[in-house]
Symmetry: C6
Subunit: 70 residues, 6 copies
């Protein structure tokens, strides 16, 4: 897995979505599709506040894609 470099465009884009409290679709390698707002990210995980109110600690290695809503 690439080293976690906060200067990367992809890391900055996620940081922007966090700042904007942007709702995103989160597709996982198990084919789960979660929906929510990303609270924070670190080299190992992203922390998602799901629309259901549930908080979920997601392993970065299991992420397939993120789709911002609207």
């Amino acid at each position: 897995m690439a080293e976690f470099n906060t200067g990367l465009p992809s890391v900055r884009l996620v940081q922007q979505w966090i700042k904007d409290k942007k709702e995103v679709d989160v597709k996982l390698i198990t084919n789960d599709l979660l929906v929510g707002i990303i609270l924070w990210q670190d080299p190992q995980c992203i922390y998602l506040s799901e629309v259901s109110g549930q908080s979920t600690l997601i392993w970065r290695d299991s992420l397939v894609y993120l789709k911002p809503k609207g």
Copy 2:
């Protein structure tokens, strides 16, 4: 896989759940969903005491997400 850095927010969050004996849902890449209390974590694994009383050594690379209950 990111180096295991105990200062990471995600590692600290799991450590907090361990301290609080928080019950969590553990989703694995095989689509298994285990439920229990995390006893400890290290760079390779987390050790889960399942609600069934069974102890399970789970490889970190197979973790998809953790959801704290309640």
Copy 3:
């Protein structure tokens, strides 16, 4: 995962498709097949503008293959 070296033929080929706004099929490990134009790439992700108009941040580790259209 190989270090992200912008001199690699595969990285340069994707860069060429970005410059040419080439439409590509994107096959993911979940068997999803997305179609669109790659806006940019970095060591962790590629950013795809799907034909549906949706933008999607795709993790490089979940890429299986890219097929240029036409």
Copy 4:
């Protein structure tokens, strides 16, 4: 994958099961569930003597979890 550090709690726990000839369930990423006694472990594999008498060299990267029996 984390460096193989024999001081890790998870490595020591497996070593204990080896010493005690503890029967374990071994869940793999293909959803296979093998049952047997671990003969030895190294940074790449674990070597399992299955209850059927078959010996099986299992890649560490394909391990999901180990459950000690009884």
Copy 5:
């Protein structure tokens, strides 16, 4: 993933198939089976000219096996 060392027997074997324009079966982690001639390889990908005439950039991490035809 092992560092990409052009001296490896496996890398040299693929290079030989490239030189010989050998047709190969390419099995991917999504269970796709592609058939074609490998045009080139680099640390991240192999570039395949499929029998259908389609060119496909395949991520090395998604390769399961290659079978030379005939």
Copy 6:
């Protein structure tokens, strides 16, 4: 993935099977089960001569387990 260290018990065991021309079952992450004799191994692959006479270059990262026959 662990560095390829020819001193590892698991690497030496495979080397022994190669020397003995031992027939093995090879389980892959796609759930394929190949059967044959391993001709050689390197840090990236193992090269298998299948019972069907077909030679197959298998990526080490896609190996789940090896079972020696008989």
